[in-house]
């Protein structure tokens, strides 16, 4: 494979000599940079196949590497240049798993803004494809648990259980997962917002409706926190939902 990606050249393989003399001729400046060849023979072609076979990943092969997605991406532009959707697609199609793994620390950072998908001239569902890449890596144990995945699972479990989401439980449940000591009432085991060891900003924000005597707001949210809103007739449907998710291995890892 011709390496046309600068980032596939590891720093160890770039040799630069200060002075280079060949056959008595000083060639420094022209010939003093040598890149050692790299042989890659562990392509995993099944990886791309698995992606193509999923309904949300099948557009991956339409990509012609124009990089419009990367140019649009706010995570690439405003956070970390190593986050590069075009490159991830390239690596996934080639099946260069170890190169993907090297980027595992940034790959989860996609905020699902869909600028990439919107602008891709080839009709690749870029955001979906990136998530399928991550999902496939997770399925094969190639990537460790990352924060957004923890949150996604936490969220989905709440949907599965109740059919609905409740902001308070989501927020405080997540804070608790971050290692804060959230105080809960002894009977229903629901978090009490104003005491306990929560971040300062959260404390201040929860105090706001109290300070402004916004009684209606407080009562509504307290009620929802104590008695989680539920979808009626949910049980039979929940069963099917759980089955489908288990089939996909969604809850396992």
């Amino acid at each position: 494979m011709a390496i046309h990606e600068r980032s596939l050249v590891e720093p160890e393989r770039i040799l630069r000599k200060e002075r280079l003399v060949i056959d008595g001729i000083d060639v420094s400046g022209d010939w003093n940079l040598i890149i050692l060849p790299r042989v890659i023979n562990d392509y995993d072609l099944d990886f791309a196949k698995e992606i193509v076979n999923s309904p949300d990943g099948k557009t991956i092969n339409q990509c012609y590497q124009c990089s419009y997605c990367t140019a649009s991406c706010p995570v690439h532009n405003y956070w970390d240049e190593r986050y590069n959707p075009r490159h991830f697609i390239h690596l996934a199609r080639l099946g260069l798993i170890d190169e993907l793994q090297k980027r595992a620390d940034v790959m989860w950072r996609c905020v699902s803004c869909h600028k990439c998908t919107h602008r891709c001239p080839k009709g690749v569902l870029v955001e979906e494809v990136l998530k399928v890449i991550l999902r496939t890596m997770a399925k094969r144990g190639l990537i460790e648990e990352y924060p957004s995945k923890k949150f996604d699972k936490f969220f989905t479990e709440q949907v599965l259980e109740y059919g609905r989401i409740e902001d308070g439980e989501l927020l405080f449940g997540w804070i608790e997962k971050q290692g804060y000591k959230v105080v809960k009432d002894p009977i229903l085991r629901k978090p009490i917002p104003f005491i306990g060891e929560t971040p300062e900003w959260l404390k201040q924000l929860t105090m706001k409706p109290i300070k402004s005597m916004n009684i209606g707001f407080l009562i509504l949210n307290a009620k929802h926190m104590l008695f989680h809103p539920r979808t009626k007739n949910w049980n039979k449907f929940k069963h099917v939902l759980r089955k489908v998710m288990e089939e996909e291995g969604a809850l396992a890892h």
Partner: protein, 319 residues
């Protein structure tokens, strides 16, 4: 005008029945004033938002198909959602159900198994802003305005998923793609994809002035990562708030409860850190329209906004 229908299924989404009740209340007020009718979708479930889709594909199809089925049961072809996340999820399901036959069949079989009516027809989902614009429009807003938002400089924040991606939101006719059926078609009523202006138009009709807010009007607020990736979200929100402030905005108008919550939460955190130019408060565009239609600050639940837009509105004599 008038291509969506005056009476539609209303999918509020979980958020609007809890922390974002101000959006729900003010939306109902505005709809009533504009002569439109929202038919509450009974017993709906969560759309899975931007989170569940990363864990399970079929699961999110099912979650949304169940809601579509409920809408069909109530006799509707059109669902309207006030949240970017909800309208995105429903439109995404619509896209896959329409373009992938195997998904459609599987979903219908599973719906039946779960005791829900299978889909005879796939209802279309619109964002509530698009619906307001097309079924009522700026003219109607102008007629209804009793207390113009004179002097109020608004930064109209649309967020990501209102017009994006065009595959789901159908905001842009695209020639690419190998599969003829999967090619996106533009919807007649769709807002401009890169430069949305419906909210500008409605609020301007109510007397407000829009400030230049490009390109941050469609910049991400951190979205599904606003709790799980705090550093990135904080930076994104900082860019949004500072752009608004430095372009002279008094207030940011929002049209999504998640964007709104994210802006308010990080606004507070940024202010605690002493970051300059981030103190612009946020209000739902329906709250501002409600005020213009003569409702009080209490009616549109302005107190619920944690960023406290009341002082600014009071100073201008609007609340």
């Amino acid at each position: 005008m008038g291509v969506i229908g005056k009476r539609v299924a209303y999918y509020p989404g979980c958020s609007l029945e809890g922390a974002a009740r101000a959006y729900d209340v003010s939306t109902r007020i505005v709809a009533r004033e504009l002569g439109l009718e929202l038919d509450y979708l009974e017993d709906y479930n969560c759309c899975g938002a931007m989170e569940s889709k990363n864990v399970t594909f079929m699961g999110t199809m099912l979650l949304n198909a169940r809601n579509m089925s409920l809408a069909r049961k109530q006799g509707h072809d059109v669902i309207v959602a006030p949240c970017n996340g909800c309208s995105f999820s429903l439109q995404r399901a619509e896209y896959f159900l329409e373009t992938d036959k195997s998904v459609f069949e599987r979903v219908n079989a599973l719906l039946r198994e779960g005791g829900v009516d299978p889909l005879d027809k796939i209802p279309h989902t619109y964002h509530i802003l698009e619906w307001f614009y097309h079924e009522a429009g700026p003219q109607k807003v102008k007629e209804k305005t009793k207390r113009p938002l004179r002097g109020l400089k608004v930064a109209n924040y649309y967020g990501c998923l209102y017009t994006r991606p065009h595959f789901y939101a159908r905001t842009y006719a695209h020639a690419g793609g190998q599969d003829e059926d999967a090619r996106p078609r533009k919807r007649d009523t769709a807002d401009d994809d890169e430069h949305p202006y419906y909210m500008n138009a409605l609020l301007e009709a109510a007397g407000a002035t829009s400030v230049n807010f490009e390109p941050m009007h469609t910049q991400c607020c951190g979205g599904p990562h606003s709790l799980s990736d705090e550093m990135v979200s904080e930076k994104f929100v900082m860019m949004i708030l500072q752009t608004a402030k430095r372009n002279g905005a008094d207030i940011i108008a929002t049209e999504c409860p998640l964007c709104h919550a994210s802006l308010e939460m990080y606004r507070h955190r940024l202010m605690m850190k002493g970051v300059p130019d981030v103190d612009v408060p946020a209000a739902y565009f329906t709250q501002l329209l409600g005020l213009a239609f003569g409702y009080s600050a209490n009616d549109v639940k302005l107190k619920d906004n944690l960023s406290d837009p009341l002082p600014v509105l009071k100073r201008l004599g609007l609340a």
